[in-house]
């Protein structure tokens, strides 16, 4: 017998045992030791007979940039962690394929053929109630009270930063630039990422920080501290929906589709509230009661899915105020 054939015949049973791999590209905190990734990995691997391989980038914006830059030559199957503001740009670059996953019966209105949602939240400002006794109740009051210092995120590089630009534009529309001008002196730090900015707020660098209405739940449920609270603005709060999609040159389409379906089940969603500290897209108000109690849903503004041009105009409003 040919020697090569013999070797291949001997190795064949081992190759049959090799598991399929699903490569997911996400932002760092999702798959950190303290994020939901490790638990989700265990749950999915217990039902798929596959290996789930994570790779990470610094932020949502960095995720999209990386696959744009490389045309996904790095071979990821799923990109997890874009937000609704980046969906249009992602579609325009022809990087994703349609998913055909049912998205009925979710806690949010969703209808998109390329992406499925996995969590959502509302932007808000967080304050330390031990230091700020009379928090502002509206954007108008915030701009009038010059003594209040704020940390925001750079809208060019951070999705919460872009979320604030969206929020201000939803409320002030053509007057957005003027509003940015009014609060410019109060902004003490414009951080590159949400985690940088939030960390600096906890270090005492400002009175308010741009974050989510769910942030106080982390302090309350993990640290047992109730001093951090979310502002409730009369104008309402803008929302953010985080999504995932199957990349164009995914090597394992069936497995990728199974993961998207899995993401809309309890097995995935149960780890979102106290892992990613966002609202799950399934209604888990009964099983996650303590989370919803600590992070009640605020008054919501209409959901907006901006085009790339709208997104650029929000950023331009902000940039104009910096230059001025």
């Amino acid at each position: 017998m040919n020697f090569k054939v013999l070797i291949i015949t001997l190795l064949l049973p081992f190759s049959a045992l090799a598991k399929e791999e699903l490569k997911i590209f996400t932002y760092g905190s999702f798959n950190s030791d303290w994020g939901p990734g490790p638990n989700i990995e265990k749950e999915f691997e217990s039902i798929c007979n596959c290996d789930l391989i994570w790779n990470t980038a610094d932020s949502s914006g960095a995720l999209l940039s990386r696959v744009k830059l490389t045309n996904n030559k790095e071979g990821y199957d799923i990109l997890l962690g874009l937000d609704d503001s980046l969906v249009d740009e992602a579609k325009k670059n022809d990087l994703f394929i349609k998913h055909s996953v049912q998205t009925d019966g979710l806690d949010i209105d969703w209808n998109d053929e390329y992406f499925t949602p996995f969590d959502y939240g509302y932007f808000s400002f967080i304050y330390d109630s031990d230091k700020l006794n009379q928090p502002p109740m509206s954007f108008k009051e915030l701009a009038e009270r010059n003594e209040i210092s704020i940390i925001i995120m750079d809208p060019r590089y951070s999705t919460p930063g872009l979320g604030l630009a969206k929020w201000i534009n939803q409320i002030y529309k053509d007057e957005a630039s003027n509003f940015w001008n009014k609060i410019q002196d109060q902004i003490v730090i414009t951080s590159k990422s949400w985690s940088d900015g939030y960390g600096l707020f906890l270090e005492g660098e400002s009175d308010l920080v741009l974050s989510y209405t769910t942030s106080p739940a982390y302090h309350s449920l993990v640290e047992g501290s109730s001093q951090y609270k979310s502002l409730k603005f009369e104008e309402g709060h803008a929302s953010q929906i985080e999504v995932m999609g199957i990349l164009n040159n995914a090597s394992n389409l069936d497995l990728a589709k199974s993961f998207l379906e899995f993401s809309l089940t309890d097995g995935f969603q149960q780890y979102i509230p106290q892992g990613n500290w966002m609202y799950p897209v399934l209604n888990l108000k009964e099983s996650q009661k303590e989370f919803y109690d600590a992070a009640p849903l605020p008054v919501s503004l209409d959901q907006v899915f901006p085009s790339s041009e709208e997104k650029d105009s929000w950023i331009a409003s902000w940039e104009k105020s910096i230059i001025e």
């Binding site: 790779n55 940039s65 990386r66 003490v188 414009t190 985690s195 960390g199 600096l200 270090e203 660098e205």
Partner: protein, 524 residues
């Protein structure tokens, strides 16, 4: 008849340098291809980066200016303090090569709104208004390193003032400070242009400091803009173009400063004559204040030790980061050693033959100092993309690190390596000694002290690097500085400070052992 003789040692010694040249040329040519599909040059709106370019040079000039003045003042205090020059010089060297991430976080720990200084002010009680995440913070941390560099340079000059000079001054009753202004200026400032350039390059390329302390989009340097172009805007072209812009401006400024200097004499010995200066309480107080100033970042060690965390020590992420850091530093050092020795060999062989090509070798290596590390990262990223990602991140980061430590090694070793080369050349020709034997038997023993010191220094520099790894990291590849920065970003301050403390203690150990070894060698 002449017998054909092929010296394998020569080819072996030239090989790393030739590989390096080929790699650099390939890299530059492939980077030019990225611009091949340009239809309209207006798409490069470099003018929109005018503010960034202005800020980059403004902060660099400011930090250089402050560092020169403060450094000179510190050197005078050190000179008048009558302390052991070796201890002072080693201390300043140590401060200069401390990891940027350590000094940055140490300064945050001391100066931030919840920092030690704020607590002291609260207790007094005085309003505290220092914002570390600002231009002040960037200049403060950048200057920390440059003050150490400048002070060390001036101090070595002061210590080496010839004794007869001092005697003449004393006999004429000219006060020392007046004599500096009138007569010693030329001696003290000779060779300062190289320090100024080194200082300026450091200030321009201080990515980590601006990355950690920039609190506003207005405080963006070119290095940070390159990072943002690559990581967030998927715009490699702009990253490379910004890098070229920075390179051109640095080169122009450097050429105007340096003139025709081609070697740096960095290992001056302590000859002299500092003795018998009168001790003064005033000098003593300022001396210890300066020591306190340089020790401020070390206060973070107290916080770190108090935050001891066994779980973190055995966590996979921590252990992987330690392993990656050591591997990257070892690889970088190995690449640098072979490239440096090879370049030095080629450099000296041209000198032996009195060929002007030695200048080309010097330039081809020292130009690496001027290329922004993130631009080089952009170029390598593009090349790797074209080669379907054949290089793993660990190799890319090691290569980039080695490219930045090689010129340092080359510059520091070149003086000693070429010492007496004419005399040696004549003798080895007469004795028919091969190049390889010359390297092993003559060169390496000759430079061994400097070699060990420089290897330690560049190993530490590579260990503390947080530039290219910000672009090439992934979930399996993190280094310790990146791990610390991510812990801090995720407001796990105690863990960040604990890891930082372990890291700096390890670095102190690395720096201590070779100096101990050298001392024993000297005694024996």
């Amino acid at each position: 008849m002449n017998k054909f003789y092929f010296d394998w040692g020569v080819s072996f010694l030239r090989l790393p340098y030739l590989i390096y040249l080929a790699f650099i040329i390939t890299l530059f040519i492939s980077s030019l291809f990225i611009f091949s599909d340009i239809k309209d040059f207006k798409e490069f709106n470099l003018l929109s980066y005018l503010g960034t370019i202005k800020f980059t040079f403004f902060q660099a000039f400011l930090a250089c200016f402050i560092s020169s003045i403060v450094g000179f003042f510190f050197s005078l205090i050190f000179y008048f303090s009558n302390k052991d020059p070796r201890v002072i010089s080693s201390f300043l060297n140590f401060c200069f090569i401390l990891p940027v991430i350590f000094v940055s976080f140490g300064s945050i720990f001391f100066y931030s709104s919840n920092g030690i200084l704020s607590i002291i002010f609260d207790w007094l009680p005085i309003d505290y208004d220092m914002k570390i995440f600002s231009l002040k913070g960037i200049i403060y941390v950048t200057s920390y390193f440059n003050i150490a560099l400048n002070a060390n340079f001036f101090y070595r000059k002061l210590i080496n003032i010839p004794e007869n000079y001092m005697k003449v001054l004393q006999s004429n009753g000219i006060p020392f400070l007046k004599s500096i202004r009138l007569q010693l200026k030329k001696f003290i400032f000779s060779g300062y242009s190289s320090v100024l350039i080194l200082s300026f390059i450091f200030c321009i390329g201080n990515f980590t400091i601006v990355y950690l302390l920039s609190g506003s989009p207005n405080l963006t340097t070119i290095e940070l803009a390159i990072y943002q172009s690559i990581v967030f805007d998927a715009d490699l072209k702009m990253g490379i173009l910004l890098g070229i812009t920075q390179l051109v401006i640095i080169l122009l400024i450097s050429i105007s400063i340096i003139g025709k200097t081609t070697t740096f004499n960095t290992f001056t010995t302590f000859k002299k004559s500092y003795k018998n200066l009168e001790k003064s309480l005033f000098i003593e107080i300022i001396f210890w204040s300066i020591i306190v100033y340089f020790s401020i970042p070390f206060l973070v060690l107290i916080k770190g030790i108090m935050s001891f965390n066994t779980e973190l020590l055995i966590s996979i992420t921590f252990l992987k980061s330690v392993f990656n850091s050591l591997l990257v530093s070892t690889l970088s050092l190995s690449i640098s050693i072979s490239l440096t020795l090879s370049s030095l060999y080629v450099y000296r062989s041209f000198l032996d033959k009195k060929s002007p090509f030695h200048k080309f070798i010097f330039l081809s290596i020292s130009m690496l100092l001027f290329i922004p590390s993130l631009s080089l990262s952009a170029m390598i990223f593009y090349l790797n993309f074209k080669l379907n990602f054949i290089f793993e991140s660990i190799w890319i980061v090691s290569i980039i690190n080695s490219f930045f430590i090689t010129p340092i090694m080359f510059i520091f070793l070149s003086g000693k390596f070429i010492e007496n080369h004419n005399f040696e050349f004549k003798n080895i020709t007469l004795l028919n000694i091969t190049s390889f034997t010359r390297l092993i038997k003559i060169d390496l023993p000759k430079i061994r002290f400097e070699f060990i010191l420089v290897c330690t220094t560049v190993f530490v520099l590579s260990l503390g690097d947080l530039t290219s790894v910000t672009i090439f990291n992934n979930s399996t590849f993190k280094t310790i500085p990146l791990y610390i920065s991510q812990l801090y970003s995720n407001y796990r301050y105690n863990d960040a400070f604990f890891t930082l403390s372990l890291f700096i203690m390890f670095i102190i150990l690395i720096m201590y052992l070779p100096s101990k070894l050298l001392k024993q060698n000297v005694k024996s």
